[in-house]
Symmetry: C2
Subunit: 184 residues, 2 copies
């Protein structure tokens, strides 16, 4: 007997249903911890290494590769422009997460996504970062995510699916960040 995987939008729906069932049986399996190591090079230039994580009740042993990513700043922001700035990297994470969440939840609901591409824009006033005006926030005032998508679902349906995005939650709602500084 030949069985074929039930794949929709590149998502293995059988595995997704199994995952949901497993989590319903054992809620502890849903607890994940993601991690990153960051090394300062100089100025606003840093490199991160990402590999290990905890999930499905154990330390992961499947990931083979360590992913490295850099951040830098353009010349007008006193950098050497060797990589994207941290706020630009946030736009990358947010666009990928909104799209991925839509695609996964569409698959779970039998909705086909034939294609998707998006652009993101974030406005920032450096009076905040430069410490010139305490009334101006240091981060983006707001972000616009414009998604072109080919699907039979309505725009409203697709927006509701995308909003399951973890990064969307982290950006639009407060996420506590504990800072621990260890002097060497």
């Amino acid at each position: 007997m030949i069985t074929t995987a039930n794949v929709k939008n590149g998502v293995n729906v059988d595995q997704l249903v199994e995952t949901i069932g497993a989590v319903q049986q054992n809620p502890e399996l849903a607890k994940f911890q993601f991690r990153s190591k960051n090394n300062w090079i100089d100025g606003g230039h840093c490199v991160s290494s990402i590999k290990e994580f905890y999930g499905v009740g154990q330390e992961d042993t499947t990931r083979q590769e360590t992913f490295t990513m850099e951040c830098d700043h353009p010349n007008v922001l006193l950098g050497n422009d060797t990589a994207a700035t941290p706020p630009e990297v946030v736009l990358h994470a947010l666009g990928s997460c909104l799209t991925g969440a839509m695609v996964y939840h569409a698959a779970a609901n039998g909705i086909t996504i034939e294609g998707a591409e998006s652009s993101l824009k974030g406005d920032i006033d450096l009076h905040g970062f430069l410490g010139l005006d305490p009334e101006v926030r240091t981060g983006f005032d707001g972000i616009t995510f414009t998604l072109k998508v080919k699907s039979d679902a309505t725009a409203e349906q697709l927006e509701n699916l995308a909003k399951f995005s973890p990064v969307f939650d982290m950006i639009t709602n407060p996420t506590p960040v504990k800072i621990e500084i260890v002097k060497q």
Copy 2:
């Protein structure tokens, strides 16, 4: 006459002081817009392209390179594990931004940073993302940033400098995200 740049922590302090002076003369120069384009590949696999931005009163013409970055998901999250997940990318952006902000503001205040490395951890309960419990948020419950730093400044001083980070602001405070969906 030979003049040498006044560089501290890899930051050109003369250029930093000039930038602050220019912004005080003309507040419009502080308005920046960062952008990202995102293309869906399949499942939770996306690639972003980052190049153009607006700042210092004009569209940037100095950046030569287009930075590309991917997101994917590990096998246990139904991906092919070809790149870091979006929440891991947020940790990269946050770690780089907190470090960069500390380094720039240290330079502006005459504080030397001799070395810095950090680790970040974010905990997430997938009951939120999977739609199994509407009381559980989809993003990180919280993030811990542990920074080892070599400097004569106190830990409290360094923490206050790091908190100028734009990404720290975006994560710890709500940032509005407008979603526009265009059906193709």
